[in-house]
């Protein structure tokens, strides 16, 4: 880079890497249809259990978005024998940290405990899955907490930009156009009966996988699962497939007014591709070069060359159907247009010519080398196994991951950029001060600009 580079000291030469394998895991199945996946990792006396149900946000009925979210949360708010406070107390006296949530494709109850307490904690998990109370008071309380979150979002530029980006990118009919956890209107109409019928149709042993990772053998994990969930009866839920069509095929700017904001939250992107797409690996490497790494083109340009931002990155959100591709950053208000221009320039550039071999090797050697570091904890291994289960990936997926990353070529990256980055269909969402940013954004010539309030309603 500079003349002095020629006299710089040599970098240390690494020795050969020690072999690493993703933890071995075993599959079992109970008679009622429950699948069990166990990875015996005995490093520390800990166990993580993740119980996955085919009960994600995609299963929400139209107009009742948020049901999946509330149902998952309500599992921990009381059972046939314990009210919510007692249930929390019983888990926590065992030192078990427990959470439940629904993402788009699945709901998960996740628990980590010391292995000495795993048996009674596992029994409690059985109670949670099989005998939730859905007490009406708790339903109303959690609805109120979601309403509070939604209210908070109106004043929170980052979350607001993310939420409204989805709304402007997906067709209004798409579930993905509406917030994962529901909006004011949909949450308001949900009642206990909706929760109960969602639970009865989506939480079924035939659609449930129990992932157990840590200081426990497969036999023991099976025995614990059988004791906790073996008597659970029911069939299997039908898979829900949602619409993932884009809202429009031309470019547009959506400006959400937040007067006097010192920064603009900027989102630029479009509908991406599904997780099981055959080009997942080239797309992943392409994204790493474009905006996935600290030393990616977008971050180096916006942060290190221009000082426009604290950070800028791009990501594909991987779902069963096509999740969004989005470039995200927050920039000083008065250079919003300049920052957007740089992002658009980088998207054009990676579609126009092959990346340099050093850029490819940075991305692939990072993704290859960092692989063991991603799986240091029982919780991280359980999360990785959850990805296998939710997306139906083959059991040797993690064993082959590194060679597949390394085999990506600059030609494949170029093809991926040209095929899956749609420069002419980009939507730009800005949460910022209209007085400062509106004129310059219109002058960009990117596309028509529409102005909205913080609820996403059009204004003039």
């Amino acid at each position: 880079m500079t003349a002095s580079a020629t006299v710089k000291a040599p970098r240390p030469i690494p020795g050969p890497p020690r072999e690493y394998k993703f933890p071995r895991f075993e599959r079992r199945k109970l008679d009622n249809g429950i699948q069990i996946v166990v990875a015996h990792v005995a490093k520390l006396p800990l166990v993580t259990v993740a119980i996955l149900s085919d009960a994600g946000g995609v299963c929400d009925q139209l107009g009742r978005e948020g049901t999946a979210h509330l149902t998952a949360k309500l599992l921990l708010e009381g059972t046939a024998t314990s009210d919510g406070a007692e249930l929390a107390e019983r888990f926590e006296q065992l030192g078990a940290s427990i959470d439940a949530h629904a993402d788009w494709d699945a709901a998960a109850v996740t628990m980590t405990a010391l292995s000495e307490h795993i048996a009674p904690a596992f029994d409690l998990l059985g109670e949670v899955l099989c005998t939730p109370a859905f007490n009406a008071r708790e339903v109303e309380r959690l609805k109120g907490e979601r309403m509070a979150e939604l209210l908070q979002l109106r004043a929170e530029p980052r979350g607001l930009a993310d939420e409204l980006f989805s709304r402007f990118v997906y067709s209004p009919e798409s579930r993905f156009a509406r917030p994962q956890d529901g909006d004011e209107k949909s949450v308001n109409v949900i009642d206990r009966d909706h929760i109960l019928s969602f639970y009865e149709s989506r939480y079924l042993p035939g659609g449930t996988t129990v992932i157990v990772v840590g200081d426990v053998t497969a036999d023991k994990a099976e025995e614990l699962t059988r004791r906790a969930l073996g008597a659970w009866t029911g069939g299997a839920p039908t898979r829900v497939v949602v619409d993932d069509k884009p809202a429009r095929l031309d470019r547009a700017v959506h400006l959400i007014a937040k007067s006097d904001a010192p920064q603009s939250e900027l989102r630029i992107g479009h509908v991406g591709i599904a997780r099981n797409h055959p080009d997942f690996f080239p797309v992943n490497v392409m994204n790493a070069v474009l905006g996935g790494l600290f030393n990616s083109r977008i971050n180096l340009n916006l942060r290190e060359v221009h000082g426009y931002t604290y950070g800028a990155f791009s990501a594909f959100d991987w779902r069963r159907q096509a999740g969004p591709f989005v470039v995200s950053t927050a920039v000083k208000s008065d250079i919003t247009d300049a920052a957007a221009r740089e992002v658009l320039g980088e998207i054009d550039r990676i579609r126009a010519a092959k990346i340099a071999p050093e850029e490819l090797s940075l991305a692939t050697s990072y993704l290859d080398g960092v692989f063991p570091i991603r799986f240091e904890t029982t919780a991280a291994i359980a999360a990785a196994l959850s990805v296998l289960v939710v997306h139906g990936l083959p059991d040797d997926y993690y064993d082959r991951y590194r060679e597949r990353v390394r085999s990506v070529t600059v030609e494949q990256v170029l093809t991926a950029a040209q095929q899956y980055l749609h420069a002419n269909a980009l939507q730009m969402v800005v949460v910022g001060d209209p007085a400062t940013v509106r004129g310059p954004l219109e002058a960009l010539g990117f596309g028509p600009l529409a102005l909205y309030d913080t609820s996403g309603n059009p204004t003039v």
Partner: protein
Amino acid sequence: MRIPIETFRLPNGLFVTLSEDHSAPIVAVNLWYHVGSANERPGRTGFAHLFEHMLFQGSADVDANEHFELVQRAGGTLNGSTWLERTNYFETVPSNQLELALWLEANRMGKLLPAMTQQKLDTQRAVVMNERRWSMDNQPYGTWMEKLPALCFPPEHPFHHSLMGSMDDLAAASLDDIAQFFATYYTPDNAVLSIAGDFDPADAKRLIDAHFGAIPRGKGKPPLPDMSLPPVFGEWKREVVPDEIMLPRLFLAFRTPAFGTDGYHAASVCGAILGLRNGSRLRRRLVRERQVAADASAFTYDLAKGSDLLVCDVTARPGISAEQLEHEVATEIDALVRDGIDDAEVARAVALVQTSLVSSLQEAGERADRLSLFATYLGNPELINDEVNRYRAVTANAVNAFIRERLGENNRASLLYVPREPAADELVAAGSLANAE
């Protein structure tokens, strides 16, 4: 459960802790410099953090951003962070890349200044100003990070001023400041190096000596002023902050025993009883039963000099006023002071803390960071192996004694965020501030 620890000191003063674990081919390198925002001089608030950014701008043998590039190309993760009392830098890499991480850290400890330029400083200043806007100025409640210490520590105290710094002070920082700060604080005798994970101790010692051994000892740093403070604030301090928010939120702080002192663990357990997870007091009473809060938690700052802070963080439900929120939280604290807590509450808190402590030791980076923490603040990394037992030794009597001494009205500081009213009403807000005082 104990992790193995070996320690030694190089002749130049660098303190080293090693902890082997060969369960995966991963090694973490973690360097703590015993300097933070507390060491900043007047007119240079935010400098310790700006300086941290500059440490990624290269050194004599490393180009700007090449540090990131080399570590990521090696398959590693990395970052740095600045706190009131320390600044840390860390890499987790495949174990065959240990020398790269050590070489990079040694190169910038020994030879930073030749790489510093005005242009790099200007760019990082702009980045940090954007970090401030992103994390504080354009974020609801974001200013609590500088307002709470300012409320809780007297103006002359080193913990009083903003870690992120004022825009004016950031603008004033110069290359001379960089050189002076580097020479004063970024010296081997003011640092702790920890390595955790898959390495051979003999190799590691050889590499540490080869890369760090020749870096000269510093000339000493100016001592911090006396950090000790009376055990209580002596009053109920209050500040009301009108902000661009939808719901009131209260940060209620108490002055507590410093991290590493005898009383710390009882304070920490009290924090867990109040605000750790769903079964905690504040969640159970205010979120679940009374339904006046949307969320509630509690935490300690873990400050090791003079005194620490225990903080309750409670956000109102829609329809609950700021005054009512503060009243509801105070009522719970008053009940705690009046009635105390029982053995079951201590058992719940300690069980959760124990799971969390063991979980955190799974990651090489976290192990190394905890070793650096105990070595830097308390001079003894072996304390990492006593943590679980120290928590288990906390009794209800000890927590109740802490509560009686520290949770009374003479030791509270309320930082209360209220939704900003339209301009005409701002006078009213100012009026209520005056009344609260």
